[in-house]
């Protein structure tokens, strides 16, 4: 029951991004999209924010003076911003700026890892279902429906409660298991759209095998929509992971993550709003950047919106 967040979902399957004819300089699709992207300020803004978040996740010591859960002083717990401590202190009395900076890594790691794995699963399953049709399609589509029907929060809670003491990879696995369906459906419908086109028939007539037809002739022409949804999906996954953390079934202390910080803040936010504001701000800006980036790429790949 989880739909990926797309800011402006295409009403119908995306048409081929090939030249409509009449546009003088014919560029390859990738080059064409890049040309479109370069001219969009929103693309550069979100890319810059994500680059910053990426550096924060990779080398937190560049930004934070202290390590995670380091030099905490309970006497300072929940105090607001003060000199040298721009974000104040958290519930445990740790410097909140350092904690929030260290929270970037799990979010970005889970967001990208889940999306990559789910993308891989959906490309393989969607291609198989769309290309072979018949019984393969029927079985794969019903399996997709089964997983699509699982409620996200409740499903994830059941699995994660069944395996207490889980780490970041278990959370990743659960999010992949609950998040591959929509992309698989998109991939399948794209493959069906491309399957009967002339160049595929020509390749088959020349004796190309199933694998070659799928990887060389169908995949490159069917990949764009699912790629766009995958980009938009990163933000969605990050928000979902934070929701699980917030509910107390996702990542566990001593891991430092934005979702866990929001979980801790929930009992104190009325008197100490800074506990809620800072992780929420970082989380929302990151999610927003992924959405805007995906949106910009989508617009660049979809000639109808120009």
């Amino acid at each position: 029951m989880t739909e990926p967040t797309t800011l402006d979902p295409p009403a119908a399957p995306l048409p081929e991004a090939a030249a409509d004819g009449g546009v003088p300089p014919v560029r390859r699709r990738g080059g064409d999209a890049w040309y479109e992207l370069r001219r969009r300020p929103l693309f550069w803004c979100s890319a810059a924010v994500l680059l910053l978040a990426g550096v924060m996740a990779a080398v937190p010591s560049l930004f934070a003076r202290l390590g995670p859960n380091e030099q905490c002083d309970l006497l300072r717990a929940k105090q607001g911003p003060a000199g040298g401590h721009p974000f104040g202190w958290d519930v445990q009395g740790c410097d909140y700026w350092s904690q929030v900076v260290h929270g970037a890594r799990p979010s970005l790691l889970v967001g990208t890892a889940v999306t990559l794995f789910a993308l891989a699963v959906s490309v393989v399953l969607g291609s198989l279902a769309g290309y072979f049709g018949g019984a393969v399609d029927a079985v794969l589509s019903r399996v997709t429906d089964v997983f699509f029907g699982l409620p996200f929060v409740l499903g994830a809670t059941v699995v994660l409660t069944a395996f207490p003491g889980h780490g970041i990879w278990a959370v990743t696995l659960v999010l992949v298991a609950l998040g591959w369906t929509t992309m698989t459906r998109i991939m399948r419908s794209q493959v069906i759209a491309v399957r009967e086109s002339d160049h595929v028939l020509a390749a088959r007539a020349l004796g190309a095998g199933h694998l070659r037809v799928m990887t060389r002739h169908i995949l490159p022409n069917a990949f764009a929509p699912v790629f766009v949804v995958a980009m938009l999906n990163v933000g969605n996954v990050i928000a979902g992971e934070a929701t699980l953390d917030y509910l107390g079934v996702g990542l566990q202390y001593p891991t430092v993550s934005w979702g866990l910080q929001l979980n801790m803040a929930q009992d104190f936010y009325a008197d100490h709003p800074h506990l809620l504001v800072f992780p929420a701000l970082f989380l929302s800006v990151t999610v927003l950047s992924f959405l805007l980036l995906g949106d910009a790429v989508r617009d660049a790949l979809d000639p109808r919106l120009r």
Partner: protein, 308 residues
């Protein structure tokens, strides 16, 4: 139409079985013995343990347990909890709360979302349009529990406009704020979706034809364009109703509403398999039926789509 409905219903059967079995298997995999968990620290006599295991079929293999559960389900029996309460009784009151919450959120999505989308779509590129786009982008990016706490803090505690917790004031007063929070994401999505499809369809040939025939702007927009533009919106709203029911757990937690989501969440922690499976089964059923209804609605909305 009849054949199409029958085929869709037949397709839903394996999906229903698969989803409920998956949930059942996952709940079954929860570590620990639920009977021992119920007894807490106190020792349980082996005979009592055996009797309870027999009563709840805990020693049967997974598939047999699931089969017995299904057999009960067909008779309208959702089973009982380990404290002997009927699951259907336990969930009955909870369903009303969650349904009221989901319907409130859904109405918000439908009415406000479509209205905002139409306004933005008709005034494309103007200030209203930009405001709607920027606002909805923000709402989509901020996680629902952050929206919930902010709304609770501002609207409820600071301004004192609406109740912040519980269901004391009944529907709709108690459900307005939680409903708005729960529906905020979908509202933003519906608004953007409506705007996009409306803008796209306003450029289409049949709209130009309608205008050329001399039809007024209102009729062109409402009858010719909006009806077709609503197809993806209806799809989304259909899928989203199930998601609202299932996703209500977070909102119910923030606003302290005794709904199904809260119950299931607690039951997962207490390893009360029957409650988890029962509630989730019902959720999946709602989801499948609404999706079927949506597919059938297509033909009504768009005369170009005909089943069979």
């Amino acid at each position: 139409m009849g054949r199409y409905t029958a085929r869709r219903l037949l397709q839903a059967v394996p999906v229903f079985l698969g989803t409920t079995f998956l949930i059942y298997a996952l709940v079954f995999a929860l570590p620990g013995d639920p009977v021992r968990a119920l007894a807490g620290d106190k020792p349980v006599s082996p005979s009592a343990l055996a009797a309870l295991h027999a009563r709840y079929h805990l020693d049967d293999p997974l598939v047999v347990q699931y089969g017995k559960y299904l057999a009960g389900l067909v008779r309208g029996d959702l089973g009982e909890t380990f404290t002997g309460q009927r699951v259907s009784d336990l969930l009955a009151d909870r369903w009303t709360v969650t349904a009221q919450l989901a319907v409130t959120a859904w109405v918000f999505e439908l009415v406000l979302g479509v209205t905002l989308g139409v306004i933005a779509g008709l005034r494309r590129g103007k200030a209203v349009d930009t405001a709607v786009l920027a606002g909805t982008t923000l709402v989509i990016a901020v996680p629902v529990f952050v929206v919930g706490y902010t709304a609770q803090l501002l609207v409820g505690l600071e301004w004192g406009l609406l109740p912040t917790a519980g269901t004391e004031e009944g529907w709709p007063t108690s459900y307005l704020l939680p409903g708005m929070v729960l529906g905020s994401f979908g509202l933003a999505y519906v608004a953007r979706l409506t705007r996009t499809t409306l803008v796209e369809n306003l450029r289409s040939d049949y709209v130009r034809t309608a205008a050329a025939k001399g039809l007024g702007r209102t009729r062109t927009v409402v009858v010719h364009t909006l009806r077709n533009s609503l197809i993806p919106v209806v799809t989304y709203l259909g899928v989203d109703f199930g998601a609202l029911m299932a996703g209500a757990v977070v909102t119910e937690g923030i606003f302290n509403l005794p709904g199904v989501g809260q119950q299931v969440f607690q039951s997962i922690q207490l390893k009360e398999g029957p409650v988890v499976v029962g509630a989730t089964t019902a959720l999946v059923l709602v989801f499948l039926l609404v999706n079927l209804a949506v597919d059938l609605l297509y033909g009504v909305l768009d005369p170009r789509i005909r089943h069979d």
